[in-house]
């Protein structure tokens, strides 16, 4: 990993830790956002008026090539009822070797809109629209992504489906101009009826490879979100890709935290 990248990640971690407020319920461990800790989300936005700071470090130990480390700082804001705005800027190690939409340092803007709450007969639906501005290393063109999200509960078990499509603004070389992604996931609150601090999440996903002629990345992830205080949620996750290109992930790991205020 290059030294400037490492320094940036360390600086962001220190900054985030320094912003931790006094223990005081705000950010909800049962409200699932992408990468916190695994690559799935539920159909609900944070409450109107809430501000959340989220961050994490993701390790991707690839079958070929060096281990990639990503720092994922993000600010989310419940700007309207049922809508959250997100600003994110992932920082990645070995930024010059990246292919696909995700580039180190890209400014990522997102809007998640939840259409409805779940009822006896209807699941909850949401849509996410995102743009990646080419502010990062080797980044060209504005990438856009749209995702449909569905959440349905069965007792305390909640099932989630995410289906998204990314369009690259300026594909380079063998990069595909567009890729799809599909995730099926479940989440379950641990500890009922005496504890309500932990949510277990597991997912199965497939996504189109970034380069033409390669197989889909397909894998599984499992994660845990733990409500540490009223305002702070810790998360951790592990995963592996069982099919895909030669440089697919052998082991994925994420740790992170979210602070709501």
């Amino acid at each position: 990993m290059n030294r400037p990248g490492l320094r940036s990640i360390c600086a962001m971690i220190v900054l985030l830790c320094g912003l931790l407020p006094r223990p005081g319920l705000a950010l909800d461990h049962d409200n699932l956002d992408p990468n916190r800790p695994i690559g799935m989300e539920d159909a609900y936005a944070i409450p109107k008026g809430e501000i959340g700071m989220e961050g994490g470090v993701r390790f991707n130990d690839r079958r070929e090539g060096s281990t990639r480390v990503t720092f994922q700082p993000q600010i989310i804001y419940g700007a309207f009822y049922n809508a959250q705005i997100e600003i994110q800027g992932d920082l990645m190690s070995d930024p010059h070797t990246l292919v696909g939409a995700a580039k180190s340092g890209d400014l990522h803007l997102g809007l998640l809109y939840n259409f409805n709450t779940e009822t006896i007969s209807l699941p909850a639906f949401a849509a996410r629209v995102e743009v990646d501005l080419p502010t990062g290393v080797n980044s060209k063109g504005v990438d856009t992504q749209m995702t449909g999200i569905l959440t349905r509960s069965f007792g305390r078990l909640r099932a989630h489906l995410n289906a998204g499509y990314t369009i690259l603004g300026s594909p380079q070389g063998q990069e595909r101009p567009g890729t799809y992604r599909a995730v099926a996931a479940v989440s379950y609150p641990l500890g009922y009826p005496t504890s309500f601090r932990d949510t277990l999440i597991a997912s199965l996903y497939t996504r189109e490879s970034d380069l033409r002629g390669q197989r889909n990345h397909s894998g599984i992830e499992i994660g845990l979100r733990h409500q540490l205080t009223s305002r702070v949620v810790l998360d951790g996750g592990l995963g592996t890709e069982f099919a895909g290109p030669a440089d697919r992930a052998a082991l994925l790991g994420t740790i992170g935290l979210s602070v709501g205020f």
């Binding site: 609900y44 008026g49 009822y81 409805n116 909850a124 101009p177 009826p193 009223s230």
Partner: protein, 315 residues
Amino acid sequence: MMRPPSNRLGALVVLTTVVFVLAGCSQFEPRDKRFYYRAFWNFALREDLAELDSEFNGVDFGHSNLYENLLLTGGKDVPAIEDRARKETLAFIATKPRLNPNEEAIAPTYMKLAWRAQNTFDEAHALHRATYDIMASDEPDKDRALRNVLAYYRESAYAITAKRLDHHRLDQLPYSKTFRQRFPLFNATIWSYHYLQVAVYDPLQAARDLAAKTQAVRPILATYRRYLEQPPVEWTFMPLTAGLSPSFAARYTEIANIFDNLHMLHDNISDILASELLPTWDAKRAEIYRLVDTYYLASADATNPMIVRDREHHH
């Protein structure tokens, strides 16, 4: 063979169309969660009077657990409510929870049945929490802080009316008293929660500093814990704020009215969930929403027949 991007975009358009078509469905309702009023005194109760805060966290479990169990058992299974569900609640309270529980994990079915009513509760509970935080904090101008949180609360479309409602008339609906007659122990446990929630205001208001506040709530906590062990089944009506915290009710009449109305709504919904007069989940949902829309939400003030008008009050 790879499908062209336009086909995939087409699939997304179809998905979005399906969502909008579903919007015409009668069960399509918005989530509309709102963050609490942000202030420096947020969580003052949790940080400074943790013993009392812990009891309120237990109370949060009680209502949701009751509603879920009433719904799933059809409101007829006495041992399931009086014995199992009540003891689950007492067991949770006994854990002295440091954080309020996730109510959607406690009552996933009820939340899907009557989300709008739950959101009404959530907003009022946030007002409850804010008032405790203000009382527990060293905020120098508590009147102003309480006015601000009340104003913020009243901005919500889910705000309960701040007018005094005729609770005795609201307790004479066709299904009223079903819950308390069939499940007297759990009903008295619920009323014990409401006792705790309103009895602490005057002592907190009168205490000058944190040590005095800690001491002031101790006798109330002792009484509340005695009620949990031996539920006051002899009570014939829910505790009212003016009876237990008269100074608070006189000074902050609108807030006191909201809390009394909130507690009455809890009783009404328990009766609806327990009543055979509303035999299906759809019928229960429709009656809960009719009740909330007609008699409880502040948006119905102009036409609400349950509001006690001044003239009636003076009589």
